[in-house]
Symmetry: C3
Subunit: 343 residues, 3 copies
């Protein structure tokens, strides 16, 4: 693709040869001739003088370079869109495969692609242009918007409600039973029926083998545009706002409330029935046991401000030194204890 | 449903209008007219004066309220059962779907519902009234009791033994190979065949996408009534007692022994070949590296008594203060070190 | 099986009755008459005098025992191979099941066993002697070597490349989209297309419900002989060397580089864009936030040398004592602070 075509498609200013031929979009560290790359983060500027890329997406104010450049105030976004220009999607099967089992009263909009062995149960309603891969099951009464994408082996349980432009990756389970039991006098654990549901807003994406439990009553909610990574667990009755991002293997205990534009690092956990404010950011593996104020940046278990967490980790490694110095002082003062601990 | 009907069904004493019409069972914080709610935990009593609920399940000794009440010594249990009264299960397909593949020598009891594209391999025996959803695979020689429920895409590997009233949620894998390799002289990792199996007792419930590995020899065992949440991993050769509860994303390394009535918080882990005693309780994300005595309440990694864990967390945040005070003392004593660390 | 046959099969020296009949291979602690067991680790030698096993695999230099022995320099490896001698695999369906959906242009080598409802899409190439269980989906253009084993419900996404002798356990997902978004000026999160792929080397084994994301560009790579346990997450663009072992629920953030012969304990996590050197060993639940030198043995979060991590854990529990002694010194020096913290 010619660089001027790309510039137009990405709405960037072009500086340099418009007929530069681009064959691939690639990170700057390993880019080769024919590649379009980008620099957003200043620490990657060191590659500018040595890169083999044929063109670069950079900020408007960067000095002119030897290679042609595309100028934009958002180089990373333009790079992401350039990737899309060159992306070749696998072929899409048109229509409903003969081996799919679709209930007579299911309503499926125009333009659907439904793969082999998919199952759509009674009362389901799906919007237009759905892409449902092989082995997906949509259970009774689920209601799904337009441009739905479900990769192989997704399960959407009964009565779940899903917005437009939602993507569910392979093996994701939406609407599994919440985890609730009550000990009975008979000395057993009685299951609490999970009669609620799950609501996924528009543009939600759920990762491979992630699980989102249905509420006991009411609904577990994931708001518009929020992104849930692989192997994340969302407990019953959780509510997540808009455009929040939960990295892989994070787990939310029941009734956790997560605001909008929240970022949760991988393997984070919450103990439930608490609130994580809008725009807060949680380091990987944060353990949340009480409310997090909006805009907080936290880490550790229990979660504390990120600087405090980092400092405590450093200090922990100085503890042996603290003990040694303490003993020296005690000795100087003749205050040794018989039971003085040794490090 | 009339309140007197509900009182009879739940075996509660009714105080107030027997013809109160209940349409929904709902938590007290957000209950509305027509709702039946409950108060078990004293800290929810503050809602008693303001709730819009039409009736409440409460303890026998609570003062009379303005709204009708159902009296029981176990309000939470009664609430759970009330939920069941109002629960509407999705329709159940009767019989075996034409697309299911059932081996000629498989034995399936009366009353089975087997969904599209389910697979039951040779030599499998399943009791009465099984509900097996679409895309479930039961491998060779598995033996399963009565009233078995498997949600979509469950895999039960060969020779696994499952009791009565077991529920397996979507994507759960029972009997995958244990994780065992041995380095050989040839400089490769040789797989140790996993010739054992898994035994699930009566009333076991396994969450979505959870995995339970088969033993190398003998069996991985989950005892009667134990509940395994989503995305839990149970390694080969583990043994879990009765009515234990393992919250989401917990992982048991091989040969962990867990007693009965144990509660494990989410994201807990064990290093294997150790014993967790009956009735012990583990905080979320506990890391167990040695035996836990029966009845213990522990947290942290490595696990320590819960009070010690909480205290050490608090103290960790005071370390900067300790260092500062230590330096002040050293200065007062003229005992500064050249190499004194700075916080 | 006669013990002399076993000795020949395992290439061990036999001492004792060659016609000893062995019916089972079993660990020494619970071995019974008819069992073949082994002792590799010296701490199991205490069972030598009491075991009921009929024969034992032991090191060449061990004293003669009352029971017949098989002598080898690698008793554990011989035990693993003995297990294989007695292992009875479940029956293998020959050929391609009538309900499998195989694209016309897919190439599948001789000797394939393909189960019910499996799907092989267009352009896929699979080597000889594949065993593909029910409900597996191999997406467009994937290329797979010889002796491939996929358990039920595995998903291999488009264009993934897989070597020889690879085993994928039930529910594993290979090639799901990497987790990448960029905030746009419009105030939404734009998906970064994931146009790369996954490459699995020969002899790789991937556990049940584990997920390996495809790269944004290029490939996520798992090298020859590496073993990935259940519920592990491998982010986009990671590269793992040869014969590394990642225990259950470990998560690698994007672009993590793991060397060869690395051992990662369960629930370990990495923050991405870092390197873990060859032969390093990580304790369970290590949190890696910076490079790990080759051959390191580390633990903790952030990861520190294993001895330092163990010591800091011990010291943490002495913090209360430190504070108490510090206050005593301050008092002795008349250096009390009004604002002195209490433990």
């Amino acid at each position: 693709m010619r660089l001027d075509e790309i510039a137009r498609a990405l709405d960037c200013e072009l500086r340099g040869a418009p007929d530069t031929e681009i064959v691939r979009v690639w990170p700057i560290e390993t880019a080769a001739a024919g590649d379009l790359s980008f620099v957003a983060n200043p620490r990657y500027r060191r590659y500018l003088s040595t890169t083999q890329a044929s063109a670069l997406i950079v900020a408007p104010d960067l000095d002119d370079l030897d290679v042609p450049t595309l100028r934009t105030t958002e180089p990373y976004l333009a790079f992401a869109r350039a990737l899309r220009l060159f992306y070749v999607a696998p072929p899409r099967q048109e229509g409903i495969h003969a081996t799919a089992v679709i209930a007579g009263d299911a309503q499926i909009g125009a333009g659907a692609s439904i793969g082999p062995h998919a199952v759509v149960e009674g009362g389901v309603r799906i919007g237009t242009d759905a892409t449902i891969a092989s082995g997906v099951t949509i259970c009774h009464g689920a209601v799904i918007g337009d441009r739905f994408t479900a990769y192989p082996r997704v399960t959407v349980r009964e009565a779940v409600r899903i917005g437009n432009d939602v993507i569910l990756h392979a093996g994701a389970v939406i609407g599994s039973d919440g985890f609730g039991y009550v000990p009975s006098a008979a000395g057993v654990l009685e299951k609490i029926v999970q009669g609620g549901t799950v609501i996924l807003g528009d543009e939600v994406e759920v990762g491979a083998n992630a699980t989102i439990d249905r509420a006991t009553v009411g609904a577990t909610v994931v708001g518009r545009g929020s992104k849930i990574d692989n192997l994340v667990q969302i407990g019953h009755g959780c509510e997540i706002g808009e455009f929040s991002v939960l990295a892989a293997q994070t787990g939310l205990a029941g009734s956790t409330r997560v605001g909008s534009w929240v970022q949760m690092g991988g393997q984070t956990g919450t103990t439930g029935h608490l609130t994580i404010g809008d725009l807060s950011r949680l380091a990987a593996r944060t353990g949340v046991v009480s409310d997090i104020a909006p805009g907080s940046v936290v880490g550790g278990y229990p979660a504390v401000p990120i600087e405090a967490w980092r400092r405590s980790r450093v200090l922990l490694n100085k503890l042996g030194d603290v003990l040694r110095r303490l003993r020296r002082l005690e000795k100087a003062l003749g205050a040794d204890e018989d039971s003085a601990p040794s490090p």
